[in-house]
């Protein structure tokens, strides 16, 4: 829509400029030779708060630095060697992966379902949008406190509604599940909006044409909706995987910054922060941070590679 308005503006302006356009193009390019000033403010911040910490983290990961910043010695690969042998690294990594495996499919399915419903209903669209999206606007700390309360065994809402007495938050078998439920409720709205926007972008005439050809609702869904949602589904899955692997907030608040029953909800980010800020081992924490970074980078690069190979497939 924005590009449409600007195109209109451009066409109305163009006649006046045509004559000088060619020479202007040359000068235009020259004038902008030193446009680096536009990028400079961003790069100052980016350098200080992204690039520098990455480099610093890499350096720290080869030292035994502590939180107070003195007595730092170079220890070579010791931290990485220790990380490989540290059960809790693998244990907490597994919790984050497990969480991701549970939560991503749930979010994709529920968000898609919500989007289809909200898209195809004629009345009260704004209401569905509000209801499904509102939880996403709450801070994670509120989510943690809220579900801590909702999952209380004797006076919580969940057991009250379901007629159960399950101690959700104090037994190993349900502790992570509780975090999954809270997260689904909280974040599904974001993916829902992405699906909804994608649905609205599908040209209506495709459906009308199919209807004229006598395709029923199910076939229209199968042959028009599903293929058109392929890209957005890939995006939602990728975004959710990246976000879920970094889960921290809601889990720690629900378990009061502890590791959960029998250490069943300690996530990877939580473990790095525990090492850094509870055990004061900044060097070791930096080293294990890079383990997660490698995984995240692999997921991100994997998605880029997938997209590229698909695009090449299409262009061929």
């Amino acid at each position: 829509m924005s590009s449409a308005t600007s195109t209109v503006a451009a066409t109305t302006l163009r006649p006046r400029a045509t004559t000088a356009a060619d020479s202007a193009r040359v000068r235009w390019g020259r004038r902008f030779q030193h446009g680096g000033w536009f990028v400079a403010p961003f790069f100052v911040l980016y350098g200080l708060f992204v690039l520098l910490p990455v480099v610093r983290g890499l350096y720290l990961s080869f030292t035994d630095a502590n939180i107070s910043g003195d007595h730092t010695d170079f220890v070579g690969l010791d931290n990485y060697r220790e990380a490989l042998k540290d059960d809790l690294v693998w244990n907490s990594l597994w919790h984050s992966v497990q969480f991701t495996l549970y939560v991503v499919p749930c979010i994709v399915v529920v968000a898609l379902l919500m989007a289809l419903i909200a898209h195809h209903t004629v009345h009260f669209k704004w209401l569905w949008r509000l209801c499904f999206f509102a939880p996403f606007l709450l801070p994670s700390a509120v989510i943690g406190n809220l579900w801590w309360w909702l999952f209380q065994p004797t006076n919580g809402m969940v057991n009250h509604v379901l007629g159960l007495t399950t101690p959700w938050l104090t037994q190993k078998s349900t502790a992570l599940l509780a975090v999954v439920v809270a997260t689904l409720w909280w974040t599904v709205g974001f993916s829902f909006l992405l699906f909804l926007a994608a649905l609205q972008n599908i040209p209506q005439h495709l459906y009308e044409a199919a209807e004229l050809d006598g395709a029923n609702a199910f076939r229209r869904m199968l042959h028009i909706t599903v293929p058109n949602l392929r890209n957005i589904t890939g995006l939602v899955i990728a975004l959710q995987i990246l976000a879920s692997l970094q889960v921290f907030d809601q889990a720690v608040v629900m378990y009061q910054f502890g590791p959960g029953p029998e250490e069943s909800t300690r996530t990877f980010v939580q473990y790095t922060l525990e090492q850094g800020f509870t055990s004061y081992r900044v060097g070791y924490a930096s080293a294990i941070s890079f383990v997660l970074f490698l995984i995240i980078a692999a997921v991100a690069l994997g998605r880029m590679w997938l997209l590229r190979s698909r695009e090449e497939g299409i262009s061929r």
């Binding site: 911040l45 509000l130 926007a197 922060l273």
Partner: protein, 285 residues
């Protein structure tokens, strides 16, 4: 607010059986999704004793005590203002810095541009969750622990927002700027008087999304603030405790206060926010 639906053009009633069924399902889902918030509201209106008595939806002793206590005694008004200061500043700086950088990447040439661009793209993979510990030591060495600066600045270098605006500026037709250039406008004037006004939808999308993210940001303020006076809303709620123990009605009232502003904003600016979230998200494609 609803997008004009093509079915409206047809002269038949919109309440077909399929529509009724769909609406019922939508209603059921909405009820499920709103139930936790309703429970929180109901809890916040109960007395502490009633909240832990056998569970029920409608408060018997309806009271606004918890809300009053939260406003009067706690740190919450203080944290609320902190959140506001931080989120407003972050949004302002991000809008300025990211639009400049996006424009710089999209429209200007300079030595090293491709390297900087690649570095920015790599930044999409970093987050405070991964970088937390080294980021903290960096901010610590800058002497910014427990300051507003320390909370604000590290949130102001989002590669994703630069990328979104870069994509947008690329989609603008060059001719317009060239025309202004012929008329004698400098590049900064072109940017501020021509390009920015054209970019309002994208800028508001980025702004809204940045504001939401900053208002709700827990992890970074949690790491960098220890002084309870300086905490933002999410951080304070999670780490500072009432000396009198867990009082569920107050906890819920505090949570609703933290969440309400954005929900109210959402009710009024629904279509812009929906478009904004969709836009920022879709740009990642």
């Amino acid at each position: 607010m609803t997008t004009p639906s093509p079915t409206l053009r047809k002269p038949r009633s919109t309440w077909t059986p399929a529509q009724i069924a769909l609406t019922v399902v939508a209603l059921a889902l909405s009820v499920i999704w709103m139930a936790p918030l309703a429970w929180a509201l109901s809890t916040s209106l109960k007395t502490p004793a009633e909240s832990v008595a056998s569970p029920h939806w409608i408060p018997k002793d309806f009271t606004l005590d918890s809300w009053r206590k939260v406003f009067e005694a706690g740190n919450i008004p203080n944290w609320f203002v902190n959140s506001l200061v931080v989120s407003v500043c972050v949004t302002f700086i991000v809008l300025l810095v990211a639009s400049l950088a996006g424009y710089g990447f999209a429209r200007t040439e300079f030595r090293g541009k491709s390297v900087l661009m690649a570095l920015t793209m790599a930044g999409l993979m970093f987050s405070p969750a991964i970088l937390g510990v080294p980021l903290f030591t960096t901010v610590q060495s800058l002497g910014m622990v427990d300051t507003y600066w320390g909370m604000i600045l590290p949130q102001c270098a989002p590669a994703a927002m630069v990328y979104i605006l870069y994509k947008f500026f690329q989609s603008l037709p060059r001719e317009l700027e060239e025309a202004a250039f012929i008329d004698g406008a400098g590049r900064w004037r072109i940017f501020f008087t021509l390009v920015l006004p054209l970019s309002k939808p994208s800028l508001s999308a980025v702004g809204i999304f940045t504001f939401i993210a900053s208002w709700n940001n827990f992890l970074w303020p949690y790491m960098v603030t220890n002084n309870p006076d300086l905490m933002t809303m999410p951080n304070g709620i999670a780490t500072v405790q009432n000396a009198f123990g867990i009082v569920w009605p107050q906890l819920m009232a505090g949570g609703l206060i933290a969440g309400l502003p954005l929900i109210v904003v959402f009710v009024f600016f629904q279509s812009q926010i929906v478009r904004g979230v969709a836009h920022t998200g879709l740009a990642g494609q």
